[in-house]
């Protein structure tokens, strides 16, 4: 079966010639919806991280603000808003302000391209995958500028580490992503989801899919600076890394983008490798596929993303941090060659048509 795909952008486009006011209201509503979604996701993720971390560690986590601490992150957010915003004397004030904007914009712009369900996607670009990789590169500029403009040695060290780390791992992430592009033959994210109707790429593409999935997950975790790759802000080494001099709301923008980037990574992983909102379909077993279709696609997407987020959190609360040279070795000497070989093996698979349920 095929899903009725119509993104919000297209709907706005339909409205546009007729009545500019309807269209404007539609755009505004979209902005509101994305803001609400982002805020709620951010707050929920931070709360979930704290609770899950606590239970990994035999403790309870936030308990006293609201029922089982559910209002904890709201209190934190409000406090951060009411906290003083310090710009160090020797800092480059303009870039100091610009850095969180870039970091935040990089995250937000990726978010509008994510297909969360057949009709829940703000903009479905025909270069979707390329767009996501390109725009997420803004984040690294935010971190670099933030570290530089703070005029602090620890910040600068953290920024340099982060810069080198993120750009390095972007190479591997791109190679892993290309595997999926190869198999699905399109850059459009909705098209990639659509192409997984007969099975998810993670297992449909023989070993290539699972290797690409692993590489993408590792590289993605490194790109969003989470343990075991949290060298940019490794507390025990660089005090707070690139955001050492950031306080109040500006710090919270970094903080929020960090968590939402985790969501973006999980959503991208599930879109590319786990079929996005596509239910679990196995080939042409109509009965099984029919049963799976009962669960709405939005829920499928949420489930997969949640699972990925949980996995990333699990990594964080289990593993120690790598050393910076090991991190680089892992990327350039292990992941990159494997990724390259994997890409060409996949290309061979595509050319020979040798994968499960080939169309």
């Amino acid at each position: 079966m095929s899903w009725p795909v119509k993104t919000i952008a297209e709907r706005t486009g339909d409205l546009l010639p007729g009545s500019p006011w309807t269209a404007s209201v539609y755009v505004l509503l979209t902005i509101l919806a994305v803001t609400a979604f982002m805020t709620v996701t951010g707050l929920v993720l931070i709360y979930a991280e704290r609770k899950i971390a606590a239970h990994f560690q035999c403790r309870l986590g936030p308990m006293r603000v609201g029922w089982h601490g559910v209002l904890q992150t709201i209190a934190d957010a409000l406090k951060l808003l009411l906290k003083e915003d310090i710009v160090p004397r020797d800092a480059d004030a303009l870039l100091h302000i610009l850095a969180p904007v870039l970091s935040f914009a990089g995250m937000l712009l990726v978010m509008i391209a994510l297909p969360m369900s057949p009709s829940l996607q703000v903009a479905d670009m025909n270069i979707g995958v390329l767009y996501v990789t390109a725009v997420s590169g803004l984040g690294v500029l935010g971190i670099l500028l933030g570290g530089w403009s703070s005029n602090n040695k620890w910040s600068l060290l953290g920024a340099m580490r982060a810069g080198a780390q993120i750009i390095s791992y972007e190479v591997s992430a791109t190679l892993a992503l290309l595997v999926v592009v190869l198999f699905s033959g399109t850059l459009q994210l909705s098209g990639i989801v659509q192409s997984q109707e007969a099975g998810w790429w993670i297992w449909r593409a023989h070993g290539c899919g699972i290797v690409a999935f692993a590489i993408f997950l590792i590289a993605g975790t490194a790109e969003i600076n989470r343990t075991p790759f949290d060298l940019a802000e490794g507390e025990s080494e660089l005090t707070a890394g690139f955001h050492t001099e950031y306080s109040g709301l500006r710090f919270s923008f970094f903080f929020l983008s960090e968590f939402l980037n985790m969501f973006v990574l999980a959503a991208m992983t599930s879109t590319l490798f786990l079929g996005g909102w596509m239910p679990l379909h196995i080939g042409h077993f109509a009965v099984f596929n029919g049963v799976m279709d009962i669960i709405p696609p939005g829920l499928w997407f949420t489930l997969k993303t949640t699972a990925m987020i949980f996995l990333i959190m699990w990594f964080r609360w289990t593993f120690p941090r790598l050393r910076v040279d090991q991190l680089m070795r892992l990327e350039w000497k292990i992941l990159l060659p494997i990724g390259f070989v994997n890409l060409f093996v996949s290309a061979a698979c595509v050319v020979t048509g040798c994968y499960f349920f080939a169309r």
Partner: protein, 224 residues
């Protein structure tokens, strides 16, 4: 406080219901501040084990209060827990750390050393006899070191203080910073003198009332 909150009460309070609104906003602000006390990872000696480690660990779990987000940078921290002895050499650094925290900032002195020098009060040529000679302290938690529960009691005490403050009507009323900064060449004695001035001017606690409050304090705790 900021531009709005400085001018807000004067504008709002004459309006019907304005006073209630100010109070409600005040409560919201205090609620968020008191429930989100991120400590600075700062500890000098024995108390640090109990204050930063044992309280954070699984048995006692500072996270229940939302205070497990220990920030290594003072810019992002709200709460400076002085856990351990402060000596002459450390005192200006402690002052700097305090100055570099973003406002509003709160200080807890835990353990005898931070309160008055404790075991090192006499015959020690370096120990500062009380962290409040360096920076304004909000809450004192006695013990040597205090057990983790005592620290939580101190945290509750601090939360109570924040909640009862009027952060809009009287912002900064809680206390005045002793000095805006630690200028070059300022000695310890200068700080101490200024601190004493502060104590004599407007930090005079009514002893009888405070004593009564202290005595009945445990009973009130249940309402937290």
């Amino acid at each position: 406080m900021g531009v709005i909150t400085d001018n807000l009460p004067g504008v709002l309070e004459p309006l019907p219901g304005g006073s209630v609104l100010v109070t409600a906003v005040d409560q919201l602000i205090n609620w968020s501040r008191s429930n989100s006390l991120w400590p600075l990872t700062f500890g000098t000696s024995c108390c640090a084990i109990e204050m930063m480690m044992a309280t954070g660990a699984a048995r006692h779990d500072m996270a229940r209060f939302g205070a497990e987000v220990a920030r290594p940078s003072p810019r992002q921290a709200d709460l400076l827990v002085i856990a351990g002895t402060i000596v002459k050499r450390m005192a200006p650094r402690l002052r700097t750390l305090y100055e570099q925290m973003a406002e509003p900032r709160y200080v807890m002195a835990t353990g005898s050393c931070a309160i008055c020098g404790g075991p090192f009060m006499y015959h020690s040529y370096t120990t500062i006899r009380g962290a409040d000679e360096i920076i304004p302290v909000d809450v004192y938690v006695p013990g040597c070191p205090p057990r983790p529960e005592a620290f939580f009691y101190g945290l509750l005490t601090l939360q109570k203080m924040i909640r009862e403050g009027e952060s809009i009507r009287h912002p900064g009323e809680r206390r005045r910073p002793v000095l805006a900064a630690l200028p070059e060449g300022m000695t310890l004695d200068d700080i101490r003198k200024e601190m004493q001035d502060l104590l004599s001017h407007d930090a005079n606690v009514n002893m009888t009332e405070a004593a009564a409050e202290g005595a009945h304090y445990s009973a009130e705790l249940k309402d937290f």
